[in-house]
Each structure stands twice: as C-alpha cells, then as structure tokens.
C-alpha cells in the first residue's frame, strides 16, 4: 500500500511507540501487574498519538501500516509492558478484520474513517461458554429482523472488555445454522450491555483484564461483517493474531534478555580481561532470541509480499499458509518461556526478586500465557490432521 499525505512514515510511528513504551508503559508495568489493572496511562498515550488507527488505509485517513510494521510496534511496546502490547495487538487484529473484509461497505468505511478521529479501542469476543477454545464454532447466533440485529453471547474471556469502545464478536450466521457457519458482528459501546460473570486473577498478563462476560447487543444489520468468518479467520484473524502475538512475546523475551545482558556487562566491568561465565549463557540465549525474531519477521514479510499480488489473499486460504501460521504460533509460544528461563539463570537471585532492576518474574509469568492463548495442543492437532493431506511440494 502506498502512503498518502495523511499517512505518517513508519519511522515516526516507531519512534512514538518506543517513547510510549519507555516513558509510560515501562513505568507503570509493575503496578499494572501487581494490581491486575487496565494500563490506562499507556492506552491514553496510544490514543493521543493516534496509534490505534495505524492499520486504517491511508485513503481513509490512517497510516496504512503493513503487518510487519505493526508487528514491530507490538514488539517494541512489549519491551515496556506485556499487557499493554497484548491489548494493542488484540485491537489491531480486530481492525485488520474490518479493514480487510468490511472496507467495501459504506458502514464500515465510515467506521474506519471515524476511527482516525475518535481512536476507539476494539475488543475480541471469540471465546464462548461451551465451545472449549474452538474459535471456529459458535453456539450463539445473530438474529436479524428487518434492518436490526440482536445477539447474546456468553464469553469466557474478553480482554479489556470493560474498557472497550467496541466489540467484534463471532457467532452463527443465524440461530438455525450449523456451529461452524459463522460471521463477525461489530457492536459499538451504545449497542451492548455487559454482565461480568467471572474474575481475572491470573498468573500473568494480568493487565489485560480478561474476565468472562455475558454480552447483550442489538444494532443495525449493517454491522454484520460481509462474508463468512471462515474466510476472515483464515485470511485475517489468524495471520494477524499469530504474527502480532509472536512479535510481542519476542518483545517480552527481549526485555528479559536485556536485563540479563545489563547484569553480565556490569560483572564484566569489574574484571576486564576475563569473560564472565554468564556471558556464555548470554551468547546462547541471544541466538535463540534472534531465531524467534526472524521467525515472525520472515512470516510477516512473506505475508506482506503476498498481499501485493492479485491472487494473494486467496492463497491465504490454503493449507500451506494455515500450517505456516500454526507453526509460527506454537514455536514462538514455546520459545518465549524458554528464553526467559535462560535469562533467569543468568540473573540468578537478582532476577528472581520482584523488587530488583533485573527482575524477570513478570516476564516469565506473562509469557506462560502464550501456549494457552489458543491452546498449542489444539493447534498441533489441527496441523497434524492437515499434514495427512498436505504434500508440501
């Protein structure tokens, strides 16, 4: 996508995000984690800098950022605060679905244009009581009467649900159809009422504030995203989720390794001429971190190149691409805790203490969510079944 005059250069978006990561997100990360509270300072700063509309096409007033650019932004923010980065990533994933599947309708075009001026934060409601983590099936169905819809969904987990300006929900195309015949529905704040059903007191990612909610919504039928969720899931939700998540998990791991490296350097300064033993561990973990980074970068670049071709989007519906995104997600989510574990071995007791500048406890707890957030076992089972017919030729 070529940038128009409204679009800011990527270097500017990166610099803005880096400043927010260091000066806002990192400063509040410990209290956000300790109190399991929404990172309101960071989100206010992101909205102020108009970083919630970076994905909106430049023709509609946004920055038209590519997937690899967005991934870099999420990774940089994660170095300051994991929960803030997860919230930014989740929001961008929802925007990706609207941009890529709604842009041709007047309603969504207008919504995207408004996003630039009002910077709404959009949440994701794919989880549902009774579907057990399978995002590709829904129990609830949207009911359309005339030009209005109504929908009630019992969601198990909705990140920053109480702080959203809009929600994007999966549901059946109508109550009578099959569980996998799904659509996406955008509900804006005036359209829904939330009833919180569970709490969010977790090991990590505490600032995402992701309890269960019963969501009651009603609105205009135009708010139903055109097409099937089967397609928007494969072409947009899965690619953006797995790349942006992997990038932010890598950012968390990078900050943990950064803390370990600072400690190794401090030790080296005491005895110039002798390489500290911990430097060997640092060399090893540094290589793992680079492999992780290259994995998401390569996938994002390949995706961006594919987007530039005519046949690009439909290619994403192939098993080859589904496997690529699955592999990225399972590999990075396994790698992140291992890297943080290695950083902990380097920092030792100083990393184990919560009140030390070398502390990696929060990082460790946060990355443990990676393999659960769409269960790796579930993904591996899907990949295993795809490999029964995929020939990779």
């Amino acid at each position: 996508m070529t940038r128009s005059t409204t679009a800011r250069p990527f270097a500017e978006l990166l610099a803005l995000t880096r400043t927010i990561a260091r000066e806002v997100a990192a400063k509040h990360a410990d209290s956000v984690d300790r109190d399991a509270r929404f990172p309101s300072e960071t989100l206010a700063a992101l909205k102020d800098a108009k970083l919630l509309s970076t994905l909106v096409p430049s023709a509609l007033g946004g920055d038209g950022a590519s997937l690899s650019e967005l991934a870099q932004l999420c990774s940089v923010l994660a170095e300051g605060c994991s929960s803030s980065a997860m919230i930014l990533a989740m929001h961008q994933i929802q925007v990706a679905c609207l941009v890529r599947h709604g842009q041709d309708t007047p309603f969504f075009q207008n919504y995207l244009r408004l996003m630039v001026s009002s910077q709404p934060l959009i949440g994701s409601v794919t989880s549902e009581v009774g579907t057990f983590g399978d995002t590709r099936s829904s129990i609830c169905g949207v009911e359309v009467a005339g030009d209005r819809f109504t929908l009630m969904k019992k969601a198990t987990t909705v990140s920053y649900g109480a702080y959203c300006d809009a929600l994007l929900l999966t549901c059946r195309r109508n109550p009578e159809t099959s569980a996998s015949d799904q659509v996406l529905v955008l509900a804006t704040k005036d359209d829904y009422q939330l009833k919180q059903t569970t709490a969010w007191d977790t090991l990590g990612m505490r600032g995402t504030n992701s309890p269960g909610f019963e969501v009651h919504c009603q609105g205009s039928a135009e708010q139903i995203l055109p097409g099937a969720y089967a397609d928007s899931s494969a072409m947009s939700m899965v690619p953006y989720s797995h790349v942006l998540w992997s990038a932010l998990w890598q950012g968390i791991a990078a900050d943990a390794v950064g803390r370990a490296a600072t400690m190794v350097r401090a030790e080296a300064r005491k005895t110039p001429g002798t390489t500290p033993t911990s430097a060997i561990r640092l060399a090893q973990v540094h290589s793992d971190l680079q492999a992780m980074k290259h994995h998401w970068q390569a996938t994002a670049n390949e995706f961006d190149q594919l987007e530039a071709t005519d046949a690009g989007r439909t290619e994403l519906l192939s098993l080859g691409w589904a496997l690529k995104f699955n592999n990225l997600k399972t590999s990075c989510s396994d790698m992140a805790p291992r890297i943080v574990h290695q950083a902990l071995q380097i920092t030792g007791i100083m990393g184990y203490k919560n009140d030390s500048p070398y502390s990696v406890g929060r990082h460790y707890r946060d990355v443990l969510s990676a393999s659960l957030m769409v269960s790796n076992d579930r993904i591996a089972a899907k990949s295993a079944s795809m490999l029964l017919v995929f020939k990779d030729t």
């Binding site: 099936s137 099959s178 996998s180 494969a234 439909t314 519906l317 080859g320 079944s385 017919v389 020939k391």
Partner: protein, 90 residues
Amino acid sequence: MPTNAPTSPLTASERVRQVLKAHGRLATAIESLGDTDSLYQAGLTSHASINVMLGLEGEFNIEFPDSLLKRGTFESVAAITSALETLTPG
C-alpha cells in the same frame, strides 16, 4: 472423469456424496443438499473436510495437489466433482 472402477454403476458425484456421507459429519443430511449447495453452511468443519479429502483420495485413487487444498475446492458437491475432473488416478 478419472475412475479406478470403470464398472462402477455410480456417477462421480454419487461417489462424492458417499464420501461426504461417511466422513463429512454434516448437520444437514447430504441427500437433502443440491449439487451446488454450500457444504460449509451444512456444517462441514475444517477438521471434517480433511477426512473428506482423505476419503476422496482413497475412493478415486488420486492425490490432491497442495494448490487444490483450499476451502473453495470443497465448497459443494459440484466444486469437488469438477476438481476431481482435473486429476488423473495415480
């Protein structure tokens, strides 16, 4: 139409329907669906579609190239039958 059973009394689309009946786990009975009706709307999940692909590869003695392993290929009985027509038994 490729077939490894030239004496089979069934047409290709009837054989496709048999495979769908055995492996498609459709919410709507296959008998009540037309050749161009959406199998996905009838409840074909991505997991069941893999079993349908395996069933078809066995029944028609063919291998789907990766380029055909897309949702669109398995959209309807007609779509599957026309994809099979492009393949020769191995």
